[in-house]
């Protein structure tokens, strides 16, 4: 079994591991680092459950091998909180607006929403739907997710699509 040495910073911590080149980034995060917050849904780049930030950009971590991310920085759902037990605005909004049910697509969904808000601080409903269109949810029908993002970006209004 041939292995390669990788150094990847995840949620601010540098990890150094010896892994098979064929190990995808999502499997690396989950199995090598025990960060099981990122989920596997399809392993062929469609469902978005595996979304993470790679050098601050949302990507599908099932479509990249860990070795390719050598020297890069990854943020997973575990790195979104502002501090221990301190939910970020979008995480809090998801809870307030009931933007999840089984929670399986949620980490990827949060990553997509987090990225949207960074680039578009006050998105409208269409922009939210576009931003999450690469993340499939089977529980929520998306409505409360859209509501959550609108709420997170304008908590003063009772924002609803």
């Amino acid at each position: 079994m041939n292995t390669a040495f990788v150094q990847i910073t995840v949620n601010g911590t540098l990890y150094q591991k010896e892994v098979e080149p064929r190990m995808t980034l999502v499997d690396f995060l989950r199995d090598e680092l025990g960060l099981t917050g990122t989920h596997v849904g399809c392993e062929h780049g469609v469902c978005g459950a595996c979304s993470i930030l790679l050098n601050d950009e949302p990507i599908r971590s099932c479509c990249i091998f860990a070795v390719q991310a050598d020297g890069m920085a990854v943020t997973t759902v575990e790195g979104l909180a502002l501090g221990r037990g301190q939910l970020s605005k979008i995480q809090d909004a998801f809870c307030e607006k009931h933007a999840l049910q089984c929670g399986y697509c949620t980490p990827g969904m949060l990553i997509a929403c987090h990225d949207l808000i960074k680039h578009t601080p006050h998105p409208n409903a269409d922009e939210v739907r576009e931003a999450i269109s690469g993340n499939i949810c089977r529980c929520t029908g998306y409505q409360q997710i859209v509501d959550a993002v609108l709420y997170a970006t304008d908590p003063n209004g009772a924002n609803h699509e």
Binding site: E20, G48, R60, G134
Partner: protein, 296 residues
């Protein structure tokens, strides 16, 4: 769905990459964005023994232009093309095509080179490159540099002129100069972001008297490769692109298409879609040209 085992090499520079390809031949595959390749490897449809990562080759990531030509490096991310201000001026069709390509997450990683080399018959960038008269720069150790026009680049479904030992370096797009240049890209897919059931695109230039000065158009997803129709386009020069003419051309084009069927789409439907979309997109391009009176 774990890929079959392979050796991994990160190319330090182009020379390094080409050297590996020269030695390993069919056993090696280049990986850039990986948005198509990695799923194929996960399903074990692709099983290279050696994966050569070219993501860090700076020489393949440049966008440059001169008076006549835009040159886009093969490893330029689709997202970077989408948001490149100058490209939006000089080659707006690219951005329009990209709005149909996958999702923002896939465009963050996917490269223009990857899309062209992967050559899905219904992919958007291959069709756009054909319409814009692109040419592709290829290089191998043994063969050196060569340039292949888009029309000779796409040879079949998932099959291009790129040989086993070659790397696509860059794509040249001739710049259209003048005013009243319009472009449009449209497709119909089952869901937004899916591969198109059929797609159509057009770039044109309108004279002051509203006749056609120049036009290039094509359809995707309805033949084994995206297809343009330069002879038909040539005959349209000097005419007014009316809805009637657009319908007539679209019908003519549809008759020349040989679409396949799959789970979702019958060939009959694809052909009809191509006709509908082509007529629409030509008129959209005319409409678009009205907003572009300025010399580029």
């Amino acid at each position: 769905m774990k890929a079959a085992a392979f050796e991994y090499v990160r190319a330090d520079n182009l020379e390094h990459a080409l050297g590996i390809l020269d030695e390993a031949g069919a056993e090696a595959k280049l990986i850039a964005g990986g948005q198509s390749l990695v799923p194929m490897m996960a399903m074990r449809f692709a099983r290279p023994s050696l994966l050569v990562d070219i993501n860090r080759l700076e020489e393949l990531k440049k966008i440059s232009q001169d008076e006549q030509t835009i040159r886009i490096g093969a490893c330029v991310r689709q997202r970077d093309i989408e948001f490149d201000h100058s490209l939006n001026q000089t080659a707006p069709l690219l951005k329009k095509a990209l709005s149909w390509v996958g999702h923002s997450q896939t465009r963050n990683r996917g490269t223009i080179g990857g899309s062209l080399v992967y050559a899905d018959p219904s992919a958007e960038l291959p069709l756009a490159s054909l319409i814009l008269g692109a040419s592709m720069h290829l290089q191998s150790d043994a063969g050196g540099l060569r340039e292949v026009e888009a029309a000779n680049f796409f040879l079949g479904p998932m099959f291009t002129a790129v040989s086993e030992t070659e790397c696509l370096l860059a794509i040249d797009l001739p710049i259209w100069h003048g005013k009243r240049i319009g472009s449009a890209f449209t497709e119909v897919s089952m869901r937004k972001g899916d591969f198109a059931m059929a797609s159509a695109a057009c770039q044109l230039q309108i004279n002051d008297d509203e006749t056609l000065r120049r036009i290039s158009f094509g359809v995707g997803g309805v033949n084994s490769v995206p297809t343009i129709f330069p002879q038909i386009a040539q005959k349209m020069i000097g005419k007014h692109l009316t809805p009637e003419l657009a319908q007539e051309i679209a019908l003519m084009v549809a008759k020349e298409c040989d679409p396949g069927s799959d789970t979702h789409v019958s060939s009959r439907f694809r052909r009809s879609l191509a006709e509908t979309l082509l007529a629409r997109v030509m008129l959209e391009a005319v409409e678009d040209s009205m907003h572009n009176g300025v010399n580029k």
